[in-house]
Symmetry: C2
Subunit: 158 residues, 2 copies
């Protein structure tokens, strides 16, 4: 099963890039995987009108969702899973014969309704609100960790 | 109230240092705050004997706990809080007249029993298991976020 992690907007912090890149590189050894950051929106309205911004973000994200047959929105109000539960959940998706699962990390204001309608599931990393940039590192690490759990490798010791 | 964030063991990843440093520097503008990483233990037994390693880690951590009247262990099995709840919790500690609260992030194998006995509370950032290095960035960010919430500043929008 192909995996994608799609983040809305580019990262400005070098440490975020480096952290995500470390886990992306590890994860790529386990599965067909792609990480995408969508370009930042331009124009004055971007910060002034969150609804319009989220609509445009959804339209940009759409280009990366071709062929995706299972879409998960990362959303702090969604259900939480432990790391082993996440690993088992991914295994379940593979067992169902899904071909391409994408995890989407929204921008600072959340998701356009069109993306919520399209999504098959939501997933919360924590009850805490984290910056959408830091979430990228956490999500990439968990996807990597899940694969080490499925392979029975010693990276994960809870 | 003075705050400390104490992490067991030094960070080898530059991006972890940079991430923690970004939030440390922001948080220092709000309160008397110190961030400490304890030196890595030397000797062959370190990795071979987790119980002994945790005992030595506790003895090293002890040096940084002088004057601390409220100790919180970060522990994935502890209770979770949302970010606003954490902010209110910190305010509650200040209202009780506590002078120095320390948050402790254990090493990869967890905590020596002596530290568990000494702690006043545990706090879980997430049901997920994260690397103890990544937890440093997450914890520093949440302590910073809590202070922006208490000041009514626009950083936090859930």
């Amino acid at each position: 099963m192909q995996l994608s992690l799609i983040a809305i907007g580019t990262t400005s912090q070098p440490w975020v890039k480096d952290g995500v890149e470390m886990y992306n590189s590890r994860l790529s050894r386990y599965t067909k995987y792609s990480y995408v950051e969508t370009p930042n929106l331009k124009g004055k309205h971007a910060k002034a009108d969150p609804a319009r911004m989220m609509k445009e973000e959804a339209s940009v994200a759409d280009k990366h969702l071709q062929g995706v047959d299972h879409l998960v929105l990362l959303d702090e109000h969604g259900p939480q899973m432990g790391s082993v539960q996440l690993a088992n959940h991914l295994q379940g998706l593979m067992n169902r014969g899904l071909r391409h699962t994408a995890f989407l990390i929204g921008g600072p204001y959340g998701y356009d309704p069109s993306l919520r309608e399209r999504a098959h599931a939501t997933w919360s990393l924590s009850k805490l609100t984290f910056p959408h940039e830091l979430i990228r590192i956490c999500a990439a690490e968990q996807l990597y960790r899940a694969h080490t759990i499925l392979k029975g490798e010693p990276y994960h010791h809870p």
